[in-house]
């Protein structure tokens, strides 16, 4: 079972965190800091797997972003790399050539998509089509149920905030 997934930039900024077991906020911060340092210190061509406490860390870099997963000893490392890849593919398909900014500005979408691929730390549905269909269905519901806000109203908000 995957224990958590972290996305962070080359500068060490955390972009997304998904925890599949309970931790306090403090513990999460500590773990995050530790792993970011650990992974960023590694050189290219090094092994994508490392032992960390009782867990295995599997990480991969895509452009400016690192995807880093912690899995249990009996989990399959290579396939975890491909979970990461499938997630990147999904993001890419959805955003159309995804970049770090997409994930920053649409972080909620990135979470929704992850929940379709992985649930409770286990792979749920690996079909790209099915996941994208599920997300499309969500988007459709949004459009049905919601009139877009008038630009003025938004401006009113932005000037007051």
């Amino acid at each position: 079972m995957m224990q958590f997934m972290l996305l962070f930039s080359r500068q060490g900024k955390l972009r997304l965190q998904k925890w599949y077991t309970a931790h306090t906020d403090k513990a999460k911060k500590k773990i995050t800091r530790e792993l970011i340092t650990l992974v960023l210190a590694r050189k290219p061509k090094m092994c994508s797997f490392l032992e960390w406490k009782d867990l295995k860390i599997v990480y991969k870099r895509y452009a400016s972003l690192y995807f880093c997963c912690a899995i249990e000893p009996e989990d399959n490392e290579l396939l975890t790399l491909e979970v990461i890849h499938r997630y990147v593919e999904l993001l890419d398909k959805y955003f159309g050539s995804v970049c770090e900014l997409d994930i920053i500005f649409n972080f909620e979408k990135a979470y929704f998509m992850l929940d379709e691929l992985l649930l409770g730390g286990e792979v749920q549905d690996t079909s790209k089509k099915n996941v994208l269909k599920a997300i499309a269905a969500q988007d459709l519901l949004q459009e049905e149920s919601e009139e877009p806000k008038g630009i003025l109203e938004e401006m009113g908000f932005t000037s007051s905030s």
């Binding site: 599949y20 309970a22 979470y111 649930l119 409770g120 079909s127 599920a134 988007d139 919601e146 932005t158």
Partner: protein, 953 residues
């Protein structure tokens, strides 16, 4: 600003842009604080906030939180969103709850209600959303509330596939957190048959659920074996076009294949011959495919294909029954050892470790020794080198031990610091296990100390001494070798320890040579004395007294040393005591007495090496020994049975006076070094440094304060009392230990952080803490303690967390029973855990009218308790206020007509009830007396509270 997808929340995008444009951390914080203030005021003041706005603000809070800032509000608004009929608002609400609301939040009841509603929704997208939230939080409360709904959803024929797959994994999550609430019972067969489902997503999810169920109850789910095998068979024989979107880079359903292969690793090889044949065919097909040319050059293809291959190899190793498959697996891994992908080399080394433990493939693995040694020396990544070390260790046997140990020693000189200690342990174990010639063993260990002295743990040097003592054929060689080693200008302290011990026992064997005459030996050792720490010095002093017996001719030189101020008046009490007593012993005792007292150490009883235990402890998952059934096949360091020395001797030996050179145990000499039990508290000072030296030799057993009866240690009650009106402080302190406590209470829950500080300059070992809750008390509170390490280093502090939940009112306190070894004696301290009823009171504010209305309403005699008592402290208004506040109550001003009187209110939380508590405290300054009146709306509580408070003022 990139395009915002879906329901663009422009305000959010603008805010994110702002944050990104901040030039400095300060600017960012300023911008965030501004936003937080804005959101707070919107949430507080603006009653007309519509769903969209709520969603937007909640989303902003989430963003701020994800930037790493603390957010302490907005939960209520997020919960409101859950019941919105707009999907997108609901979705954001759930996201916020999943990411930010902790499982024990008081709003969880509302959340669970919303989830229940959504689970019943006719819209599957809403159902899925609710399931995802449960899977993300997976709290006990959710398991309790939803434990029956979700299994139904999973097996119902009406559930659509997308929901079914989420339900399977949600159930899995709840099963992991709170299995007691999940009843699958009657549905188990239907759950198993999900493996036959048409929809691959459902099968993929169900496979994980079934594996967890299998782990809990293998027999009940046995039926899954044949289903899993046939499903696997269909996948591996399908062409990559058959499974359409479930084919990943030309590999058919890799995720499902891996899950099925893992599921099968929970059972022995199938008994049914047909199933077994089919499984063997599957595994062969997978191995065959590995030899086929790749269908794609993409790394995704090779990863997915090899992921399945490695899992298949895991299953082959697990079944450990088909030599053909095992050898094929080994050859396949052998190819990977030289693959250009680092990842594959790493995994091949790891898998091969397991293969090395199988009798069928052990020889096949050994063929790759040279490649593995090369990997150890040339891999650029330390984690890969580490794997190579593991594999060398696993493949070592009598035929290649000298070579492998040699290579490892060689590498150790330049090895990464991170893996040195473990390598040292491994070399020590291999050298002992496979030693044919014990002089080789002694050489290896002394080399270890020379090369990596800092990484040689006590277990390792204890062990070499143990072996030398037990084998008289190696004693002379050992004495000679340590003597030579000690001549190096800079030698490691561990070398001095081993040298000191061995020369003290067997120095006579080399004393005939004038180059190592008694005085030379003594001077050589003593030249190191001043460079060593107190532990080693203590050991050397014992060596010296042993020399007095071995070499009477140098007695005077030794007495001179003992007599120096540096020793006789040493500030380390152990050294001083040793010097005084040894000097006295050497002066008053006759030669006969000396010879008896300082007799050679008797042999140690045979036992398994403690080094192995140390290695296991260090690396529980990485040590191949961990795989239980194969234990007999891997290096097990134990003393060879061919030892000539009778093993039982020490037990019967009449040698109570024999002065052990190293830390003795209270039983005399049997467990001299505590070798057999490095972690057990009864081992007798193996780790205790010199703390325990001599204590029992001259003074008898001085195990002090051994009070296991549960009586409280003096000071316990006072410490407890102090905490009634405060939450942090020192609970207990004596010369050895300081115990500090930080407490935090919320509603009916409490968390105690307990800090144990070692005030001495020696380590505490066998450190153990138990919270004891009497049977009666167990019905009233639950107390859950987190584990605490067994060792507290000198000057160090360890922390322990204890969680408390109150079920109903209680008077008695749980006891905290601490025990540890110090100075060879077990110390016990029994304290009262500072948890008392008033800790669960939350202060309440009220005005005069409310207070007196309620006060008057509580007029039943059982609801009130009144005490009049003499003040124990000066009557200082501020202090009294602080105590009331610290005791959990409010201090309500302007309520009592007499301004000197204090009026307080609070709500006491227990699991089932909330009890209102009102308090009046009336000081009489002239008489220095107080009158305390407490009224509560539940009988008996007032009494308990008065008991707690009447000594506090």
């Amino acid at each position: 600003m990139p395009a915002v997808k879906g329901d663009g929340m422009r305000g959010l995008a603008v805010f994110i842009s702002d944050i990104r444009n901040c030039k400095s951390k300060e600017a960012e914080i300023k911008r965030i604080n501004k936003e937080l203030a804005n959101i707070r005021s919107k949430f507080k003041g603006d009653k007309t906030l519509d769903g969209y706005q709520k969603k937007k603000y909640v989303c902003k809070l989430l963003f701020i939180f994800l930037l790493g800032h603390d957010i302490d509000f907005g939960q209520m608004e997020a919960v409101n969103l859950l019941s919105s009929n707009k999907y997108t608002e609901k979705q954001i609400g759930y996201l916020f709850i999943s990411v930010m609301v902790s499982a024990n939040n008081e709003l969880m009841k509302l959340v669970i209600q919303s989830i229940k509603n959504d689970l019943g929704s006719r819209n599957p997208i809403h159902v899925t959303l609710a399931l995802q939230c449960v899977a993300n939080i997976g709290s006990r409360e959710m398991a309790e509330g939803l434990g029956t709904d979700i299994p139904k959803l999973l097996v119902s024929g009406d559930t659509i596939d997308a929901v079914k797959q989420s339900a399977a994994l949600t159930l899995l999550r709840l099963l992991r957190t709170s299995p007691e609430f999940i009843q699958i019972g009657e549905w188990s067969s239907r759950v198993i048959h999900l493996l036959n489902d048409q929809h691959m997503g459902v099968v993929t999810s169900a496979a994980s659920l079934i594996e967890a169920l299998v782990k809990k109850n293998p027999d009940e789910y046995k039926g899954c074996v044949s289903l899993a095998v046939s499903r696997l068979s269909r996948i591996v024989t399908s062409s990559y076009t058959d499974l359409q979107d479930y084919t990943y880079y030309f590999v058919p359903a890799p995720w499902l294949s891996v899950k099925l292969l893992r599921l099968l690793q929970n059972y022995p090889p199938p008994e049914d011959p047909a199933v077994r044949t089919r499984l063997t065919e599957c595994l062969e097909t997978i191995l065959n495919k590995a030899q086929e040319p790749p269908k794609s050059k993409k790394v995704q293809h090779s990863n997915a294909k090899n992921a399945v291959l490695f899992e298949a190899i895991n299953l082959i190793i697990h079944m450990d029954s088909d030599p053909n498959l095992l050898v094929r697996a080994c050859n396949q891994l052998g190819q990977f050892l030289q693959h250009r992908e680092t990842n594959l080399r790493y995994l091949a080394l790891e898998s091969m470790c397991l293969l090395a433990t199988s009798e069928f493939s052990h020889e096949a693995v050994k063929k790759h020794q040279e490649t593995v040694v090369t990997a150890l020396k040339t891999e650029r990544d330390v984690s890969v080198r580490q794997r190579a070390v593991d594999l060398l260790y696993a493949m070592c046997d009598r035929t290649n031990a000298e070579e492998i140990v040699g290579e490892m020693l060689d590498y150790l000189e330049s090895a990464d610091y991170s893996i040195r200690e473990e390598m040292v342990l491994k070399v020590a174990i291999l050298a002992e296990k496979y030693a044919v010639d014990y002089t080789w063993y002694v050489d290896v260990i002394l080399n270890l100390i020379r090369i990596s002295g800092d990484y040689v743990s006590e277990e390792v040097w204890y062990r070499v001494i143990q072996i030398v003592i037990n084998r008289d054929d190696v004693q002379g060689y050992a004495a000679k070798t340590v003597f030579e080693a000690l001549q190096a200008p800079a030698c490691h302290e561990n070398m001095v320890k081993v040298g000191g011990y061995i020369l003290g026992e067997f120095g006579n064997l080399i004393a005939g040579d004038s180059r190592s005459s008694p005085i030379v030996q003594f001077q050589l050792l003593h030249s190191k004395y001043h460079l060593c720490g107190p532990g080693t010095r203590g050991l050397l002093l014992s060596t010296y007294i042993k020399f007095v017996n071995l070499f009477p001719e140098i007695k005077n030189s030794i007495q001179d040393v003992l007599r120096t101020n540096n020793n006789l008046r040493n500030s380390e009490v152990e050294l001083q005591q040793r010097a005084v007593e040894y000097l006295q012993l050497s002066t008053v005792a006759s030669t006969d007495v000396l010879a008896t007292v300082l007799e050679e150490m008797p042999p140690f009883p045979e036992r398994d090496s403690s080094i192995l235990a140390k290695l296991k402890k260090k690396k529980p998952s990485g040590v191949p020994e961990g795989t239980e059934p194969k234990e007999h096949k891997i290096p097990q360091a134990h003393m060879s049975n061919s030892l000539d020395t009778p093993a039982a001797a020490p037990l019967d030996n009449p040698i109570p006076l024999s002065v052990p050179i190293s830390p003795p145990s209270s039983s005399g000499s049997v467990d001299l070094l505590g070798l057999g039990t490095p972690t057990a508290p009864s081992g007798g000072g193996g780790d205790g440094g010199i703390g325990s030296l001599l204590v029992d030799v001259f003074g008898g057993v001085t195990s002090n304060g051994t009070d296991s009866s549960g009586n409280l240690t003096p000071g316990a009650e006072e410490g407890y009392q102090k905490f009634i009106c405060k939450n942090n402080g020192v609970l207990f302190e004596n010369d050895l230990l300081q115990i500090g406590v930080k407490t935090e209470f919320r509603a009916n829950l409490g968390r105690l952080g307990i800090f144990y500080g070692n005030k001495t300059s020696f380590q505490f070992t066998g450190f153990q803490v138990d919270t004891h809750v009497s049977e009666d008390l167990q019905t009233k509170i639950t107390c859950q303690q987190k584990p605490v390490g067994t060792v507290v280093d000198s000057g160090a502090q360890v922390q322990q967390v204890i969680n408390i939940e109150i079920i109903s009112e209680f008077t008695e306190a749980p006891t905290l029973q601490i025990s540890f070894l110090y100075s060879g004696a077990t110390q016990r301290i029994n304290l009262k855990l500072p948890v008392m009823l008033n800790k669960f009171i939350d202060a309440a504010e009220m005005d005069s009218t409310t207070f007196f209305t309620r006060w008057k309403a509580l007029n039943n005699p059982n609801q009130e308790c009144q005490r009049i008592f003499k003040g124990s402290f000066a009557m200082d208004t501020e202090q009294i206020k602080a105590k009331l506040l610290g005791g959990g109550f409010s201090v309500c001003e302007n309520i009592d007509p007499n301004p000197d009187n204090f009026v307080s209110a609070g709500v006491l939380h227990s699991r089932s009830a909330q009890i209102g508590c009102l308090l009046r405290l009336e000081p009489n300054k002239e008489a220095q007396m107080y009158r305390l009146t407490i009224r509560t709306n539940k009988d008996g509580i007032a009494n308990i509270l008065c008991d707690l408070f009447d000594k506090q003022f």
